[in-house]
């Protein structure tokens, strides 16, 4: 970020540079002011307050008076529903990660290696679910799976895979499975683009050299492509994991946590306490759940971040040898 070079200009101009530089500073401050206001008011302040609220008993109406120290957290630790929902979030995240990461990589390799016509067309096709509203997908899918006479049961019966319609969303295991499949379908395109970005950073020379050495498709993949992708795969893992842990739109519209709360995730747990509880909203309790889960996600991210760093260092060592 260097200043424009003025050193080769005449001394008279140089005398003015300090004044000119200061004027540039004022402009720069002016330019970042709108961002600064939004940043302090709508980012920093809410983050700080999300911690503050978690120490109060507060319905969201009236002043913040009832400071109860760690009570919300203590209650949370004994709240079995919280821990069940915590597990549901983990279950969903693991399911989605395990499905999406490898399949999206296979697809990305297919797109990257083959010189087929219509690449953009296919990419658009497989990416399309990503740009659609998750909430609306949830509603459409609830109809596709939920009705006993709708699409999925119709299909399976036509091909004689099942005899009687299955109540997909009335069974806890099936409902979670449907949610994972729909979520994976929706998120797949993004991860495919992530992998493609990684693959395109590998220079064609390396492949050329491998070809000359007589390496076939699979040994090239195993010994060249995958090791090079290691650092970026850790980044993709991080993004996929964090995405999977914060599922709200889909669960709210597809199952609303049902049946019997068996698909309720932490984000829905918090929402229900803050905005949709039948009695008085418990903003403080909801906030403490948000903080606890936020810290969990943070620690997990640090763990993955450590993996990223390690993968990067391995590469450097290999590069030197």
């Amino acid at each position: 970020m260097s200043e424009p070079l003025l050193s080769n200009q005449k001394p008279r101009v140089k005398l003015n540079t300090s004044k000119r530089r200061h004027r540039r500073y004022y402009w720069a401050y002016l330019f970042i002011t709108p961002q600064f206001i939004l940043f302090v008011g709508l980012t920093i302040f809410p983050i700080v307050m999300s911690y503050v609220y978690s120490f109060y008993q507060w319905s969201g109406i009236g002043p913040l008076e009832n400071f109860i120290k760690w009570e919300n957290y203590k209650e949370l630790f004994h709240d079995t529903k919280f821990w069940h929902d915590f597990l549901h979030s983990l279950e969903y995240m693991v399911g989605q990660t395990v499905i999406v990461m490898p399949l999206a990589l296979i697809m990305a390799i297919l797109f990257n290696e083959s010189k087929i016509k219509g690449k953009t067309f296919y990419r658009t096709l497989y990416f399309l679910p990503v740009v659609t509203s998750t909430a609306i997908i949830g509603i459409v899918m609830a109809n596709i799976f939920g009705n006993k006479d709708a699409l999925v049961n119709n299909l399976l019966q036509t091909f004689h895979i099942i005899k009687h319609p299955i109540h997909w969303l009335d069974n806890p295991t099936l409902a979670m499975t449907v949610m994972i499949i729909v979520g994976s379908w929706k998120f797949f395109g993004i991860v495919m683009i992530y992998w493609l970005a990684g693959l395109q950073s590998i220079s064609a020379d390396i492949y050329e050299a491998a070809k000359i050495d007589g390496a076939n498709f699979f040994s090239t993949l195993w010994y060249i492509t995958l090791p090079i992708l290691k650092p970026i795969s850790a980044v993709i893992l991080l993004l996929t994991v964090v995405n999977g842990l914060h599922v709200f739109d889909l669960v709210k519209t597809l199952t609303d946590g049902g049946p019997y709360f068996s698909t309720e995730t932490i984000d829905l747990f918090i929402y229900n306490y803050a905005f949709a509880s039948d009695g008085i909203p418990r903003m403080g309790y909801a906030s403490s759940a948000g903080i606890l889960f936020g810290i969990f996600v943070f620690l997990l991210s640090i763990g993955i971040g450590w993996l990223i760093k390690k993968a990067g260092q391995d590469e450097k060592v290999k590069g030197k040898s």
Partner: protein, 276 residues
Amino acid sequence: MMGSRQRKIILHTILLILGAIWIYPFIWMVSSSLKSNIEFFGSGLNLIPKIFHWENYARAWETAQFSKYFFNSVVITVATVVIVTVVCALTGYALGRVSFPGRKLAMVLITATMFIPKGYTIIPLFEIVRHLGLMNHLSGVILAESAGAHVLYILLFTSYFSTIPGELEDAASIDGCGFFQTFRKVMLPLATPVIATTAIMQFIWSWNDFLVPLVFTLNRPELRTLAVGMYSFIGEYQTDYTGMAAGATIALVPIMLVFIFMQRYFIEGIAGAVKQ
């Protein structure tokens, strides 16, 4: 080994069949939106309805108020896109071209918000908007939608502006352009690709967002966006399946079209997220 031609044909066949299955839910949705409610269940896998029931759209648009939801979605999305793009371009320009005191600190702060653990920030956001007295107005939703540190956009603008050679700025200043004029007339036009990426990503994000409009319009049906309107529609007209399909089509087709025409910029932005 197979011939490369044969391999290509097989590959195309696989990609096409998989692709058809992949987007089948959307095809089903559009097809259902033109069926009658009886046909919706009775017609099995037949995709093309006997008679096109366009009245499903009329019902969704007028009776179920999708016209209003559509208008709200457009206003909220466009306003948010303009605010976010302008603010991020200004910030990126200052960070990318001027090494003012505090610049490093600003960069650290902005990136730090991506990593520090946060709680459920929508509750305080809700409180701020309430205190500003914007609860009964679309501007409240717009403000809440514009929140966030927009780290990716800022970094994209910063790195783009920092690569433009300084000679260009000198030339502009010799031509009598001040700081702002140089930005407005010389630099901003050069940054069109980044502007496009930011605008399209924010457009898709705002159009599809659910939690913010849901929370902010809980007691104000007249401010609902398409996603929230669709959700309340399901609650009110549970058995109107074809109306549901028509509403979903109204909500999804515009965003798909925007994506198809602007996809290069959107995909570059997504790829930028891993590269940063």
